[in-house]
Amino acid sequence: MTRAVGIEAMNVYGGMACLDVKELCLHRGLDMPRFENLLVQEKTVALPYEDPVTFAVNAARPLIDALAPEERARIEMVVTCTESGIDFGKSLSTYVHAHLDLPSNCRLFEIKQACYSGTAGLQMAVNFLLAQTSPGAKALVVATDISRFALADAGAVEEWAYSEPSSGAGAVAMLVSDTPHVLRIDAGAYGNHAFEVMDTCRPGPDTEAGDADLSLMAYLDCCEGAFRDYSRRVENADFRESFGQLCFHTPFGGMVKGAHRHLMRRLYKAPPKEIEADFQARLAASLAFGKRVGNTAGGSVFVALAGMLETVAIDAPMRVGLFSYGSGCCSEFYSGVVTPESGERLRAMRIPQALDRRHRLTIEEYEMLLRGESVVRFGTKDAELNHQIVPDAWPVDAAGDRLVLDAVVGYHRKYIWI
């Protein structure tokens, strides 16, 4: 029997501020029935003193704090997974490693493949453990992404009409080990589908470009292709029967709904009523956190897993199907087993309560942030951060356990705990 490996502990961090997406759509004059199809209610907005490092560290810290010193000493790999890098050479993982005070005999690196990066990082860690080169080792995998739009002019607003309401920010930290209390990965059970396509990209440090139709088409092709590859490797795999719950990469809920409908039609010629009932039964729970933070890119499939674990009452071991898609493109369908303990451990992180504590930005505050005057741009050499840019967002109950960016000195980012 294959050794048990997978996610020992997991946390989602949704930042310090959020925006009501319905309010944004009304403000932008977007078509409201179309808004309902997005299945997004709130989105996290990164404040100028929040960056992919602070998101990553704040997601991981509760997991690290919960470890005994001898367990922490076994963390031998830190992988950051992101499309929001802050340097072309130095990886975020070095800052994460430092601020979590992790052992020095650690392998640190970063993975980029758009929204697929988180799954690439998880699989890298899983295979490190399965290889048994360092029995008993643990790996910290953090998927961390923020989106920052610049509100340059009315043309830019129009261009972003479709992506602005759904683009969010967030990080998911996962401790990966041979005691997989949260998700035991089905080793060897996976399927990939990849091809070159220019659906969305980041051609410059502060620019994003994309084609909504092409991105959706690639996602649909990959969902089917990756599952077919999975079923080629896994005997008797059945999309409808093998998985109690499904967790998909979620750019917005509507896209997940479209992909599920596509698969159910292609594989089973299922009628609309049956498809809708299956979506409600096996996918709706996974949207619980995604609809509160928006698209979190590399972390999104794990935000879906966390939302499912938070919401579904698990009374016996259950197999979960996961689908990860990253533009450009690469995708993977894989699976794992969750137990009642998985839900208990995830709920102990009190993720909804942390999301409730975010400051709800007014449209005026949001647009002031969008102008980006206080944002530390890629390649900034020196900067001082204004922590009072949105006074109400600064926590009054600060307990010294949250990291924020304080300054940049000679390209080196300086952080403080508040």
Binding site: D31, R34, N37, Y162, F195, V197, D211, A212, D213, L214, L216, M217, A218, L220, D221, G254, M255, K257, G258, R261, H262, R265
Partner: protein
Amino acid sequence: MDSDRIAEIIIAEIRSTVPELEAQPITRADSMADLGVDSIERSEIILATLEAIGVKVPMVQLHGPRNIGELADLLHAKSKA
């Protein structure tokens, strides 16, 4: 099946996917986006059309047409390939 017949199928799928367009005249020159069909619905319509005409090609190969007529021409070409 010729391109005009495929266009008729696309238009029928548009009407069934977006019921608000049931009574509206739709021609080969119209673009789905301009008719108010969103990106999820557009993919639904293309998938349903592929099923109806019995063509199996990756969705990304159907990206690019600017209106229903061009999409029908592309599907027609794919159906012969």
